[in-house]
Symmetry: D2
């Protein structure tokens, strides 16, 4: 018996990617597809890549149109998803690709988002210790941000194994422009971004910083502080995260490698690459996979971890579908078997 | 009962793309994966995007390693595929992604390729009139070139309907760099191609010109001559073809539109877009779909047709798998349900 | 004695490029730099690449601020430039980078622009026959469109020499995204354009079609009709034009090559490349140069000409400065000695 | 009286960029232009962007061809430049764009380059404290590596002012592909690099690490250790460096900002941007300028500095020409007045 799903925010990048994955998911039937300013339009006119769904008409994003499905995906601006989620039936599985329900600390939420905290939901990154269990049977899931997904996958094994110092963690990530959304802004037009790289949200100002610290602190069992700098790269998709932390005295290459190996050896979507092979974002393009490599630099006593994901797939829609599968008791990889579109 | 397939040339772009599609094809089992200079390597080291096949080892490309499968895909340099194909059992379905068996005219072959003609095989572009029938049960299939795929899909409906003049056909195509293969050449390195466009093979010199003319002439029932100019665009994948022909006296927009509509209305992978919407290569990225739009320009009496495909998918590996499905009597779309990876 | 120049529209791409060139022009002093919505801003905040002018403040675009200079560059939306130009003193050299004064035929203007025609000014493409003379001492100059610049440079020698048929001219151009201006539109954002190509204005609908036909007809001495299709390429700058025309009976390669050679052998900025070398847009990036190559395709009786320019330099601001130099009796190449920024 | 200059390695990216700058330098005459495998070729065939020098013929790189000029630029593989330099007259100004003479520590050289150390020359980064003086009248100059240029410009002011801790410095840089040279390697072809980011030389393995540490240690007056990770970005040119260090107790935003301000306020080519404006590599494309911004992140006690340069200009050829100007007593900015080619 097929599961009915509704997707809101379907004219944006996150919503479009959710639809791309669900369209070939063997266990679901796509019900309402909703949008705001594009309501009434043919889906193919705003998401021309969704060939098999091209003739579907975008409905208005409303509780009425979304309710009545087994699963509702919210791909809405922060604030909007909490408002709608609060009105959906408790028995509906609601998966929020936005930020509203990720943070546990209401003060951190208010500091970075400037509004009242809407509460914390189970966090849809099943590869983190203990998270898969929390997602089973869940009716509300907060999909992680794309930067936190890559950062947490990069560093959690070391913190969970007690190998890393909680201070002086430095993360620099490069993201494709789709991370900034489908927004008509001059600084995002092709002429500006092609052939250029630039940072933004520097100095702890990016909203993903508290989310990264929350996840690493949970793994470490102590407070981890992070210097996080995101940069915009001239590509549509992909995040390459370079994460580095001081290792505890006496820890060396083998112990480090073993920790990452053990963390991911049974994971279908997160891969520690063979030694000597480094991640490239294109190798995960369009997929739910993450690829990771690490090196210990004894001259500075730090481990450097490189992780690559597709920000829209593993970093958003793929993680959302994977979490849905777990919550519903389905095979975790349903709808997520795509391999990388490379070159 | 699963069909066993072997893929040669698996370290190149065409071979890698065949594997990407076959890896999620529900009806096949991937047997030998072969290469030449990379034989012995882990597939994941040369095709890191093929996560589920990463631990497979590349075998040497040889008749011995390829024989014994139900289907053999040849993604080899021209000349090499004919030599191997000649030694494979008659009962094996051999699908040649190379050029060796596309042309019907031995003189055209010799002029453009400089070697003896290896014979002509059924042509794997099922959307052309009469071609799907020829593929059913076939044991040898020649996969079309990527430029001919886009050019023939663009113009065949008009010629088949008798609406276009056979002279003064002009086609200008822009291709992503993957069309030039995975070759270590200075003119192909990123620093040269990023931010630049350039033509090549101008003046009838490109080997795809006779293949395009062969297909259009067959549709027209008379000799069609084409001025074809390929250009290299700063992207990895995708072909955008702009094709224009003079319309016969008295022919107008409605008649033209009807011809294209009728040709493709029952096709799963070729789409005449709604009026006003124009093809973009990204909308078909990673898919077996082709999108087409046309406009009649009365002030010059010409129809201009725009067609976008992914050169590696519909233009190579997707067409190959689609043709395999037809030849074997499978559902034509098996393994080809991926939607476009966009943005 | 230095010539004072004012630049309007300085927050846009055309205006910024005019300033980039004028900043190193040894004969001019940059006076007012004006904008509309960005008036009051530091120039460096909107044009960060103009380091030496970064602390200049953008003034409001008005007749008052522009008058009183020896030269005024207008880089404004069509319609706006004609309104301002009409109020500037007759003795001021006004150079309009917009469309308002390019077309000679008021009916063509009204058809494509939908407003009253503002009159025709000397056309700033000095390499066309007779045009350099018309620019000497001129007080009003219309800068050609970027597509017409590349198209006219590509085909004029053949028409001027009487070698080409006036019908069935086909031009397909690929342009970088800066040709669409610095506009906050969703279809222009990096996520949409990176990795994609698409056509627009197909079927004679682009406003540059009548401008191209006007120029070619003047060269041919008879009415030339053109099928022109522009496409958007994933790069910031550059136009690659592929132009093809039927040659008159009896005309062959040598005669064609001689016509182009003779047309440009004394030009400093337009180069017929050595045989076998084809244009690449990056080779002219940031320069006022145009590079051209041609091939005769006897099997279809057509010449194919490839031309590459930088749409913002030779296609807009470089042509404007070159025309200014001629009008003022300066060395034609002043301020235009930059070589290509490649790779 | 014009200064005669010779340029070796002229078919590569560094050599081509040196020529681009020298071609518009008002004080020099370009003499021998030499190459190795391309000797005998027309310069325009390998560097088509150098329009005004296109007809020059590449000579063989040899002491004979290079000697007899006032200045010789060496843009050769490491090892090769030391061998040639040793044979050039002492009175010739030799400027080595390669690595051979950058490092002061022979053991560091041998560890990272595996050959005997050729000696240390004055280091061509005049904006570092005390360096401009050392370059005056110098006859041998080592041009810094591109990553060290951006890293040292980013962090030196803080170390020179005694504001930063010498441990836990972390630098992550993204470079355009031209930094890898004009080499026919499969991993550099456009199909691989377009749309992808990847790290390399991770874990202290990159040869630029000791060069960065050497410069920062000199500024700090104590040994500074650096975790440096370079990444490859999908663009031709540009380096964006994100550099972060712990600040000493009690140091805050104002003191930090003042240090950077004071260091660069009198520099023509290095700019601390106005607060709130962050570097973008395109804003320095084709120029000798560097743009810098910093932020203090009190929650981790670190300063994050972002610096953008063009790796081929300020990072190589521009620094070389600037150093030449200083050595010869010319105006430091001669030949370096180009503004950024943006968008």
């Amino acid at each position: 018996m097929s599961i009915s799903v509704a997707v809101s925010g379907a004219s944006g990048y996150a919503g479009g990617e959710v639809l791309r994955l669900l369209a070939t998911h063997p266990g679901v039937t796509i019900g309402a597809i909703t949008a705001h300013s594009n309501a009434g339009a043919r889906l193919g006119s705003v998401q021309p890549q969704l060939h098999s769904l091209g003739d579907r008409i975008l409905e208005e994003t409303s509780v009425e149109n979304l309710a009545g499905h087994d699963v509702v995906f919210l791909a809405l601006p922060h604030g909007a998803s909490a408002a709608i989620a609060a009105q959906l039936p408790e028995g509906t599985l609601v998966i929020d690709a936005g930020a509203d329900h990720r943070l546990e600390d209401p003060m951190a939420w208010e500091k970075f988002y400037g509004s009242a905290h809407a509460g914390t939901w189970p966090y849809g990154l099943p590869e983190l210790p203990g998270h898969r269990e929390r997602l089973r049977g869940a009716k509300r899931i907060a999909v992680p941000g794309c930067y936190p997904t890559s950062s947490l996958l990069a560093l959690t094994p070391g913190f969970a194994a007690g190998l890393l110092e909680p201070q002086d963690v430095v993360i620099v990530s490069a993201s494709g422009t789709s991370g900034a959304g489908k927004a008509a802004k001059v600084n995002l037009i092709g002429s500006e971004v092609v052939g250029s790289m630039s940072p933004y949200g520097v100095g702890g100002g990016h909203r993903h910083t508290p989310e990264i610290e929350q996840g690493l602190s949970a793994a470490a069992g102590e407070s981890v502080s992070v210097s996080f700098t995101p940069t915009l790269a001239p590509m549509s998709r992909g995040i390459l995260t370079t994460a580095t932390a001081r290792v505890k005295p006496g820890v060396g290459s083998e112990e480090l490698r073993a920790a990452w190996h053990d963390a991911y050896e049974n994971e279908a979507f997160v891969h520690l690459l063979p030694e000597g092979q480094w991640p490239a974002t294109k190798s995960v393009q369009g997929t739910n996979h993450a690829v990771i490599q690490l090196a210990f630099d004894p001259h500075v006593g730090r481990v450097i971890v490189s992780a690559a994901i597709d920000n829209l797939t593993k970093g958003t829609a793929g993680g959302a579908v994977q979490s849905m599968n777990i919550a519903l008791g389905l095979d975790e990889g349903l709808g997520l078997q795509q391999l990388g579109v490379a070159p």
